[in-house]
């Protein structure tokens, strides 16, 4: 049996999941105090047909590189039109992550450019109090202006760019603590 911890909502929530194999493609999964008989049939490219007890689901698993200080890949699991970004940690990785304290949004968070472009305007300065989602920088990319929001509530502790500056993807723009 293997125990995993699934991180949801960008690390704000944890769910333990236990998996035990009972046969080819057959598993017993314990989740939130319930045990489910699961039959998983892998189709192509991340598509899994899941029979959970008798209900039939298609789960599409799209693995993407994690952002920020969470280098583990985030798997976007889509079921019946709902998508859940999930980070699955085995016990060893979980211990490592706990040791570095990088599990949640606590502490300093970097905002970096998701695309190459040009900084149209920096809307904040060091010391400003900001709310999660509040626009910090306006970036022009693909001929459109995009507002980039704060990753969390907090205070701006660093600003690395200035109005008019050209930036590459992943360039650090500012940090919020």
């Amino acid at each position: 049996m293997t125990t995993y911890v699934a991180l949801l909502d960008g690390g704000r929530r944890e769910e333990p999941v236990e998996v035990r194999r009972t046969g080819p493609g057959a598993y017993e999964v314990r989740l939130r105090g319930e045990v489910h008989a699961v039959d998983a049939f892998r189709h192509d490219h991340g598509t899994i047909s899941l029979l959970v007890d008798t209900a039939s689901y298609t789960a599409m698993l799209d693995e993407r590189p994690g952002g920020g200080r969470a280098p583990a890949p985030i798997v976007h699991v889509k079921v019946r039109g709902s998508t859940f970004p999930i980070e699955i940690l085995g016990e060893r990785r979980l211990r490592m992550r706990r040791a570095t304290g990088a599990l949640t949004l606590d502490g300093r968070q970097e905002l970096s450019a998701p695309l190459p472009g040009r900084v149209v305007r920096v809307l904040v300065k060091v010391g400003d109090a900001v709310r999660a989602g509040q626009p910090l920088v306006v970036l022009e990319a693909l001929r459109m202006e995009n507002e980039l929001g704060s990753p969390k509530d907090g205070r701006v502790v660093e600003v690395h760019v200035a109005d008019g500056q050209a930036v590459e993807a992943k360039t650090k723009l500012c940090a919020v603590e």
């Binding site: 995993y4 194999r21 598993y27 999964v29 998983a40 899994i48 699955i88 693909l142």
Partner: protein, 509 residues
């Protein structure tokens, strides 16, 4: 008039889905094609589908797809005798049409004079007024600066719309609700307009109350025939960019269709139009319609009209360019209902941030009444240089209600891995009561912004967790080093061994 030599080879001066769309019809007509491509687009789908392909420069459009000289040179080099401009890029540049004709090639589109008459929005408005076509109230010409704009806006009253004189596609267009916002939006529109069109002149129009964007497809040949193919309703817009288009419009009945069609035909005649064009109108809450602009090219949303009329608009463009005659107005038959949704590489959950990158997997929907006009494939890297539209997904059905259900179903089957797409958000738009009822206007996306970002259904979260955990488990088993390989007994069955190994790995039976 002597019959001219029909077009022998067409160069498509575009990329992405529209290049693919044009090449498809050319292949059906047996006309050889030439693609052009930038550094970023060597692996693009249109390059593979065309009969020939010519590299025209570096990735930035300015140095490749917007380079008139290089595109005309590519046509010369390959012996293409006609150029199809698609939409965007050079498609509405009269200068390009002139250069093509000066090189002795056929421009598949209107005459340069018609493009000029409609291309500068303020000039177009004057032409239309003169032809007796109703226009949205606004400044006569471009406004010199923010001060002039402020004075004009105060005179006609807020809200007003700042627009690019060279405009199109929503670029350089900003809605101003109150005077305090004017300065910032004027500056932003100026920047966007300069970067998109190389022309930063702006003008100001009155914003109508709860307007609907309804446009009429027109077609004209060189023999003085002009017809309209009915309307498209394009009121679902985000930041002035259309996202959903449908035909018929829920607010257009037969008399209104005829009235708008006649005005659209009059507008086309006023500028001696040729080929495919679209006359855009704003319809106000009282049902009165006003000329907005004419797009002198094929529109992104042209397949909506193709589905309800059964016509191939690209084929008709080529036939007109060959000197052919178009169908008569009474031969235009409209049937059923069509809706288009634009699939973008963008993340609605992150303020619609563009999401270029590698498509690791792509599966497009099918089934009854579905059409996917795409320009990408699994494995393709969506470059960060161009518009991030991947595809247009359309549904046709006998009724509007069925078409809505069909498109929602198909959007749910659209699978793109590796990058974010807006398919779930589009389905939420179609499923919204205001859209379903047909009672919506151009303020739809802003008004219902929060409702359209539907959170995932919490009842499905356990299923997602099970899927992720089982997959992690399976992968660990598979990646674990193979322990003690089964002894290769003489005569032992390799099938049995394979079976045991599979059982060990689990999953994938």
């Amino acid at each position: 008039m002597t019959a001219r030599k029909p077009i022998q080879k067409i160069l498509v001066a575009n990329r992405g889905e529209i290049a693919v769309r044009v090449i498809r019809t050319c292949r059906e007509m047996g006309i050889p094609t030439v693609a052009v491509y930038s550094d970023a687009d060597r692996g693009s789908l249109h390059v593979r589908l065309a009969g020939e392909a010519v590299h025209v420069g570096p990735s930035p459009a300015r140095e490749s797809y917007l380079s008139i000289d290089r595109i005309v040179a590519a046509a010369r080099r390959t012996g293409a005798d006609a150029i199809h401009p698609g939409y965007g890029f050079l498609s509405e540049k009269a200068e390009f049409a002139r250069a093509v004709e000066a090189a002795g090639l056929v421009f598949i589109g209107p005459r340069p004079e018609s493009m000029e008459a409609m291309g500068v929005k303020t000039t177009a408005r004057r032409h239309m007024k003169a032809a007796g076509v109703p226009v949205v109230p606004g400044s006569e010409g471009p406004l010199a600066d923010e001060m002039e704009a402020r004075a004009f806006a105060s005179a006609i009253g807020y809200p007003v719309m700042i627009k690019a004189v060279a405009g199109g596609g929503g670029k350089g267009m900003k809605k101003v609700e109150r005077e305090a916002d004017l300065a910032a939006l004027w500056a932003s529109a100026k920047r966007e307009s300069a970067s998109a069109f190389g022309d930063d002149r702006l003008y100001v129009e009155k914003v109508l109350e709860r307007p609907r964007h309804v446009e009429v497809q027109v077609f004209a040949d060189e023999h003085g025939n002009v017809v309209h193919l009915g309307e498209r309703e394009c009121s679902v817009q985000r930041r002035q960019q259309k996202v959903i288009e449908e035909s018929p419009s829920p607010i257009v009945d037969e008399p209104l269709r005829r009235a708008m069609g006649e005005v659209a035909v009059r507008a086309a005649r006023a500028v001696d139009y040729r080929g495919a064009g679209t006359v855009e109108f704003l319809v106000d809450a009282g049902g009165a319609f006003h000329f907005l602009e004419m797009n002198t090219r094929l529109q992104v949303e042209h397949p909506v009209t193709e589905l309800v009329t059964g016509l191939d608009l690209v084929r008709m463009q080529i036939e007109v360019a060959n000197g052919g005659r178009i169908l008569r107005q009474d031969e235009v038959v409209r049937r059923g209902h069509a809706i288009e949704a634009r699939i973008y590489a963008e993340d609605p959950a992150r303020k619609f941030l563009p999401s270029p990158g590698k498509i690791t997997y792509l599966r497009v929907p099918g089934g009854p009444g579905i059409r996917d006009d795409g320009g990408v494939y699994g494995g393709w890297v969506v470059p960060p240089f161009y518009d991030p539209m991947l595809s247009k997904l359309l549904a046709w059905a006998p009724t509007r209600e069925q078409a809505v259900e069909r498109l929602i179903r198909a959007l749910g089957d659209y699978v793109v891995h590796g990058i974010a797409i807006n398919a779930g958000w589009l389905a939420a738009v179609l499923d919204h009561p205001a859209f379903r009822s047909g009672d919506y206007d151009t303020g739809f996306c802003a008004r219902y912004e929060a409702e359209l970002l539907r959170p995932p259904d919490p009842r499905l979260e356990p299923i997602a967790l099970i899927a992720a955990a089982v997959e992690a488990f399976r992968r660990e088993q598979e990646e674990a080093p193979v322990r003690a390989p089964p002894a290769a007994e003489p005569g032992g069955s390799r099938w049995a061994r394979l079976g045991r190994e599979r059982a060990l790995r689990g999953g994938g039976r």
